[in-house]
Symmetry: C2
Subunit: 348 residues, 2 copies
Amino acid sequence: MQVQINFQAKKTQDYTVYIDELEHLSFDTKVAIVSNPTIWALHGDAILQTIKAKECYEIIIPDGEKYKNFETINFILEECFKNRLDRKSVLIAFGGGVIGDMCGFCASIYQRGIKFIQIPTTLLAQVDASVGGKTGINNSFGKNLIGSFWQPMAVYCESKFLQTLPQREFSAGVAEIIKMAVTFDADFFYWLENNSLHVEANLKQAIQKCVAIKASVVAQDEKEEGIRAVLNYGHTFAHVIENETHYTRYLHGEAVGIGMCMANALALTLGLMCEEDAARVQALLEGYNLPTSYELLHVEKFYEAFFLDKKSHNHKIKFILPKTIGSFAIKDDITKETICTSLEAFHA
Amino acid sequence: MQVQINFQAKKTQDYTVYIDELEHLSFDTKVAIVSNPTIWALHGDAILQTIKAKECYEIIIPDGEKYKNFETINFILEECFKNRLDRKSVLIAFGGGVIGDMCGFCASIYQRGIKFIQIPTTLLAQVDASVGGKTGINNSFGKNLIGSFWQPMAVYCESKFLQTLPQREFSAGVAEIIKMAVTFDADFFYWLENNSLHVEANLKQAIQKCVAIKASVVAQDEKEEGIRAVLNYGHTFAHVIENETHYTRYLHGEAVGIGMCMANALALTLGLMCEEDAARVQALLEGYNLPTSYELLHVEKFYEAFFLDKKSHNHKIKFILPKTIGSFAIKDDITKETICTSLEAFHA
C-alpha cells in the first residue's frame, strides 16, 4: 500500500539588500539583537535608537570564530526562551560573519524557524556572508559543517559601521571582493586594480557590485546544487588552513586570500590559468596587505583534511579554479598526485 | 541603494509512504542507521539484511524522550563526521518518534542538510510522527521547541515491527489514531468504535487511513501556517503535562490522550462540543487503557506553561477544539478565566 505526499510549489521569500538606507526599523513583535561586546560598545546605542519593537532584547555573545559552536547556539536559544520569543518574533544579527552565521542558525531552529534580519558590521559580512542564507557553526572536524540554509527577511549594509573596522578586518573583507571579481567579472577586477577601496565612494560601489553578483548567484541556486559553489573559490583551502591554525592565526578573509593563491597554484599546475593572471590576483591581494603564502607542515595531512569539506563526495573534492580572470572551471577529477604537487609549493 | 533577491519557485520533493512494502533498499552512497538499543536488539539484524549501501554505519542512541536533547544530537553528528558521511549520504531513522525527530533534525543540519528516510517501528510513529517532516528536540522550557521542518525522502511503515511493541506503546499510538478521527473524520471515528485495532487487518487499515489524512494535511500546509495546526489537538495540554512530569510518567501518546480530554473539557465549557461526543472520545480512549484524567497541582502554573508552546503568540494560545466529532474550531481568544475554569476539573 502506498500514500503519496505531493507538495505545492512555493517560493523562498524574496528580500532586499539595502545599502546605506537604514533609518528606522519597526516591529509589532518581540525582537532580539544578537551582537558581540566589541560591536555593542561601539554601535549598540545607535542601533537601539533605530529599532522600535514590542519588546527588544540584547543577546551579547563572545567575539570570535572560536566561539562559533554549539555552546554559543545553546546560549542564544536559551536567552530567546527566557525572554519568551515566539514564532512571530524576529532575531537581528548585528555584527560580522560569525554573528550572522550563528544568529541565522538559531533563527532556523528556534521553534522550527523564525524570521531574522542581517545588519552586517564588517566589510566581509556586507559583501558576502550576510547575503544568501548560509548559516552554521564549526566543530572539531572543520568549518561550517553544521548549519542550515535560512534566508534573512532583509539585509542592511551601512557604511558607517565600517568606519570603526580595524585595518586587518577591512582587508579580510577585500579578499572576498577580489574573490567575486576573479570568478565572475573581469571588468570589475580591472576596476579594482585601478581604484582604491580606501576611497569611500569606491568602497560603496564595490559593496553594491558584490551584493549584486551574490544576489544573482544565490537566486539561481539557493541550496548550492550548482553555480553557487563557485563562491567557494579559495575556501576549500581556507577551511583547512583555518582548522589547522585553530581559527586564531588568520581571519577568515585572510585564509581565503591564501586559499585563492593555492587554488591558482593548482590551476597553474593543470595549465588552466596563465602565470600572468595568477600574478595579478596575488598583486591585488598584496596591495591590501593580505597574506598570499602559507607554510604547511604535512602535504598529505593537508590533503586528507579536504575530505571533511562539504564539497567532497566519494573521496572526490570539488575545486573551483580560475581559467582566465572572470571565468572559472569546476573540477572534481584532479588526481591526488597533482593536488599534492601543487601543495608542495606551500610546504614549509 | 537596493539590490533585490528574487528566488525561483521550487517544490519540496514529493515522497511516498510505503505500508508493508519494504523488501530491499539500495544506496550508491554511505548510509547511517540511527536506532536505540531496544529496537536494535530486536530488529537490527533484519534491517541490516534489507539495506545495501556503499558503507553502512549504526548509530545507537539511548532509548527515551529524556535523551531527546542537544547532547544526543551532538553525538549523532559526531558519529556522522567520524564516518565521513558527505552531502550525498543518507540517514535512516529506525525506531519510534524520538529517533525520527532526532535523526531528522540531524539530517537537516548536517552539512546544511542531507537526505533521510523514516522506518518507524512504533504505532505512534507510523500513524503520525514519521510523516510530515517535523523534527526537533526538547529543552528545559518544553517539548520540540528546537528543530526544523525537513521532509524525509521516503517513509516505510512495516507492521512486522509492531508485533514486538509493548502494550502501553501500542495504546499510545492509538491515541494519535483517535486524534485524527476526532478532528478530521467522523466516519473513521465511528469505524474505530466498532472495529478493534487488536485485529491485524483493522490496524493496517487504520494506519493507512491516518497516513492518508496526515499526507493530505501536510501537503496543503507543510510549515504549519494554517490547517496543520489541527493535528496538535490535545498536544498543547500534552506538552505541559509531559514537561511537568519530566517526560517519565507518560508516553507521549498517553499525554495526548489526557490532552484531548482536557481540550474537550474546554470545548464543553465554551459550549462548542456536546457532552455526548466528549463521552464517546473518552470511552474510545479508555477502551485502549489510555489515561483520561490528570491531577494537576497548580492551575495557574499549568496555564502559564502554555505560553512556551510554539502555537502561542502575543500572550495568546491557539487551541484546537472539537465542535462535533470530525470537525474542529481554532480558538486563540479564550479568556484566562475560561481556561482556568475548565482546568479546575483536573485539579488534584
